[in-house]
């Protein structure tokens, strides 16, 4: 159920009984679940499945010793990146996120091969193998990373929004961050300036319930994160991040507001990560039942699949799609395994742009 702040939690269900109090200032429209055509939903499904299969394979390659360091998988959260980014305009808007970044890149249509090759640290990787899983960028796609320091992307994203406004290019920045990151001080410094200067940014909080081993209730005095902008007068929207159409619908409402020059919106998408925080997290802070329940009842991909079947898409068509994705992911993995490591001379390149 989508919720917006100001007024608090105006639930459509209660509308019949009593109208919500009239807000004392304008706010974004109540979000509606996106009405996708069959083709649109099929495309969302494809993207989510690609992320899922890609991440499973990345987890496997980690187990094979081909991926090192940290590797944060996006499994379970696919509907967020796909729902949000499908609403953006390519070549105009910008996106920035933290270290859990593989899904956002895939949702942007970046070639799985160059992402996987970055994970294995190869020359063909999108950062020439120098960045790794947490540090991937594609300026061409308006994707500004890939940042390892929790919360940093929020200020940086606000800077990208500043650029959109400065250049009057009509673009909007989407800055993703987690429920844990939502507690960093720089987030609030950014909120204040973004509203003060009416910057075109949607702060997308991917609330997956945990920051590493800390459940949100143990870290957040206000756990309704969509309300975290209230004291800055930033409107908040809360929506189901396990439903790609709800995520997309909420993003539409947020974007409409921001594109009109009315300043930032906080979009809290409630989601869940199925895997540990990173590959080395045994995830003992939650029960297996909790994870199973989410997987079985709330899975965004399974939901989309059921909806597609109800829309009349054939099982065969979905099977074919599934198979194509497996092939695509297998090709990416092979590419990532087989392509060569960076040339040793790359060690010294890109430290500075110029020579002095």
């Amino acid at each position: 159920m989508a919720r917006t702040s100001q007024p608090r939690a105006a639930k459509p269900a209660s509308k019949a009984a009593a109208e919500p109090p009239a807000p004392n200032r304008e706010r974004p429209a109540e979000p509606e679940r996106f009405k996708a055509s069959k083709d649109q939903l099929l495309e969302f499904y494809r993207q989510m499945l690609l992320i899922r299969r890609f991440e499973e394979r990345a987890g496997q390659l980690y187990g094979l010793g081909l991926i090192g360091g940290f590797c944060h998988l996006y499994i379970g959260q696919e509907a967020v990146a796909v729902g949000v980014q499908s609403a953006l305009t390519g070549g105009l808007d910008s996106v920035i996120t933290g270290y859990r970044d593989h899904g956002h890149m895939l949702a942007y249509g970046i070639d799985p091969k160059v992402i996987m090759a970055e994970l294995t640290g190869r020359a063909a990787g999108i950062s020439k193998g120098k960045g790794g899983s947490m540090h991937m960028f594609s300026v061409e796609h308006g994707f500004y990373g890939g940042h390892g320091i929790v919360g940093a992307q929020v200020s940086l994203g606000t800077g990208l929004a500043f650029k959109h406004r400065y250049a009057r290019d009509g673009g909007v920045c989407v800055a993703y961050f987690g429920d844990g990151a939502a507690n960093q001080g720089q987030v609030y410094e950014s909120f204040n300036m973004a509203e003060l200067w009416k910057l075109p940014i949607v702060y997308v909080i991917e609330n997956n319930g945990y920051a590493m081993g800390t459940a949100i209730g143990r870290s957040s005095a206000e756990d309704q994160l969509y309300r975290r902008g209230e004291s800055f007068r930033i409107p908040g929207i809360q929506a189901d991040g396990m439903d790609v159409l709800a995520a997309r619908g909420a993003m539409e409402a947020a974007l409409a507001w921001v594109r009109q020059g009315k300043g930032p919106v906080i979009l809290e998408l409630k989601t869940y990560r199925y895997r540990g925080h990173s590959m080395s997290d045994p995830a003992k802070y939650r029960t297996r039942d909790e994870v199973q329940e989410m997987r079985e009842k709330r899975d965004p991909i399974e939901h989309a699949k059921q909806e597609l079947l109800a829309m009349g898409v054939s099982e065969d068509a979905l099977k074919k799609l599934e198979k194509d994705i497996r092939t695509q992911v297998a090709e990416a993995a092979d590419f990532a395994e087989q392509s060569p490591e960076p040339d040793e001379a790359e060690l010294y390149t890109n430290v500075l742009v110029e020579s002095y």
């Binding site: 094979l64 360091g69 640290g121 960045g131 060690l347």
Partner: protein, 480 residues
């Protein structure tokens, strides 16, 4: 088609593991994401998930088996073909193949690669960090005599991780004002398990989980210290202390001076510092030179478990703010630790960890292992290196360094960190100013390469400190 499930490498250091529990049995159908087994690694119990769909044809390694090598076949799965009439080769030839992407149809033409492609065998990930650890292991971790330890003292083997935990626990038992605060220090038992067990013993009033708000809790700790408490602030790693560096420097380090000695700030900021394994540029920095440049701070960076314990206890007791730099790669290394009721080492004292007459190698933290390894190689070539572990970086024990230099007349500084404006650079200056007449050769620095740490295994290797470079530098200053 038969798919072999192999023992995965679930942590960078894992060589083998225990197959603790199977969550599936032969004949079960599984799909991607299903948890197949629980595997105990050297660090934790991890879940092992299916990546392909199929039926568990055979469980090769029964649950409860210890010492299962990474890469060993633990089960065989039949790739499920719901609509396929293709015959299954159920495990007759399990070694032969692993279809990396069994799909619903099992139709080989649709695969980019034929099904006979050999899936790579799991192995440990490549990382130069392992070389650093190997240097430490080769260097031997028998404690050399420490003047601060009484003769006849008994020793026990302990990891650096345990030594640090014990230091905190002992100080907390002794002084109620001591508390530990940081991210994941309590319920999770520490992101790197350094605070393991502390919550159980001391409760949540004294072992405190924080939100991810380094600047905030570093400030809260500093304020609490100004108020008279003795906080131990853990940064998950020192990379994240950058968020909080203002409080460390502007609030903690300057308080005593600015207040004319009226206001104290007895706080310890601790956590892992320096490069770890393949975690790339933002997570692999050595901040020792940064903090060591600040008057009003004490900076400690121990190598051995004994020093970690004795110096952390001293740090907690100190009335001054201390930055205590640990090293993730050392946490799991075992050393001899003196069994004393209250083992506290003096702050500000370096230690000669190996005696020699030909060249002095000076280092700290993990670099000490590298220097010791180099010293062993040099000995084979007839060069006797003296190795000094600085242990405290501010105040720097220049006396011990200069004394050694007076004996050997040659010096190489070994540092896992950037060369520019480093501890090594500082030592070069000290030697120029105070030891010039003792020098028979220029002082050389052996450090990481002066670039952000790259992710790729080969570049990481090229970037990090190497004992072979130390050997070369030592020979050069010995004109050999």
């Amino acid at each position: 088609m038969a798919l072999e499930l192999k023992m995965p490498a679930l942590s960078p250091t894992m060589e083998e593991g225990t197959l603790a529990r199977w969550l599936v049995k032969e004949g079960d159908t599984v799909k991607s994401g299903d948890i197949l087994a629980e595997i105990e690694t050297d660090k934790a119990t991890m879940e092992f998930e299916a990546v392909d769909e199929g039926t568990i044809a055979k469980i090769v390694v029964p649950e409860g088996t210890d010492g299962v090598k990474v890469g060993a076949v633990i089960a065989v799965m039949d790739g499920e073909g719901e609509e396929s009439a293709a015959p299954r080769e159920s495990g007759e030839n399990p070694a032969a193949e692993k279809a990396p992407h069994a799909d619903a149809s099992g139709d080989p033409e649709k695969h980019p690669n034929p099904a006979d492609k050999q899936e790579p065998t799991p192995h440990q990930m490549e990382t130069a960090a392992r070389e650093l650890v190997a240097d430490v292991t080769r260097a031997g971790t028998k404690e050399a005599a420490d003047p601060a330890i009484p003769e006849g003292t008994q020793y026990a083997r302990q990891t650096v991780r345990e030594a640090l935990r014990d230091a905190m626990a002992e100080e907390m038992r002794r002084d109620e004002r001591v508390f530990v605060m940081g991210e994941e220090v309590a319920q999770y038992q520490g992101a790197y398990k350094v605070t393991q067990g502390l919550l159980d013993e001391f409760g949540d009033q004294r072992i405190i989980d924080t939100p991810i708000t380094e600047y905030g809790f570093a400030g809260i700790g500093t304020g609490a210290a100004m108020g008279g408490l003795k906080p131990v602030i853990e940064f998950m790693t020192f990379n994240f202390a950058m968020q909080a560096i203002d409080h460390i420097i502007n609030s903690a380090a300057k308080t005593n001076y600015m207040s004319g000695g009226q206001m104290r700030c007895p706080i310890v900021f601790r956590g892992p510092n320096g490069a770890a394994a393949r975690v790339a540029a933002q997570h692999s920095q050595n901040y020792a030179p940064w903090y060591a440049s600040v008057p009003g701070l004490i900076v400690i960076a121990p190598y051995s478990a004994a020093d970690a314990k004795g110096l952390l206890k001293a740090a907690i007791r100190s009335p001054d703010p201390v930055v205590f730099l640990e090293n993730e790669l050392l946490y799991g290394q075992s050393f001899d630790v003196p069994q004393l009721d209250d083992f506290v080492l003096p702050i500000g004292k370096a230690r000669v960890v190996r005696e020699g007459k030909d060249v002095t190698l000076v280092s700290y933290t993990i670099g000490v292992g590298v220097a010791l390894d180099a010293a062993a190689k040099l000995a084979e070539e007839g060069i006797e290196a003296e190795v000094i572990d600085l242990r405290t970086l501010r105040p720097l024990d220049t006396g011990t360094v200069l004394k050694s230099l007076a004996k050997t007349n040659r010096m190489v500084v070994v540092e896992e960190g950037w060369p520019t404006c480093s501890i090594a650079a500082e030592l070069c200056a000290v030697v120029m100013e105070q030891g010039f007449d003792d020098l028979d050769a220029p002082v050389l620095r052996v450090t990481d390469v002066d670039v952000p740490l790259p992710y790729a295994a080969n570049l990481e290797k090229a970037a990090l400190l190497k004992s072979s470079d130390v050997v070369a530098a030592a020979k050069k200053v010995c004109y050999r």
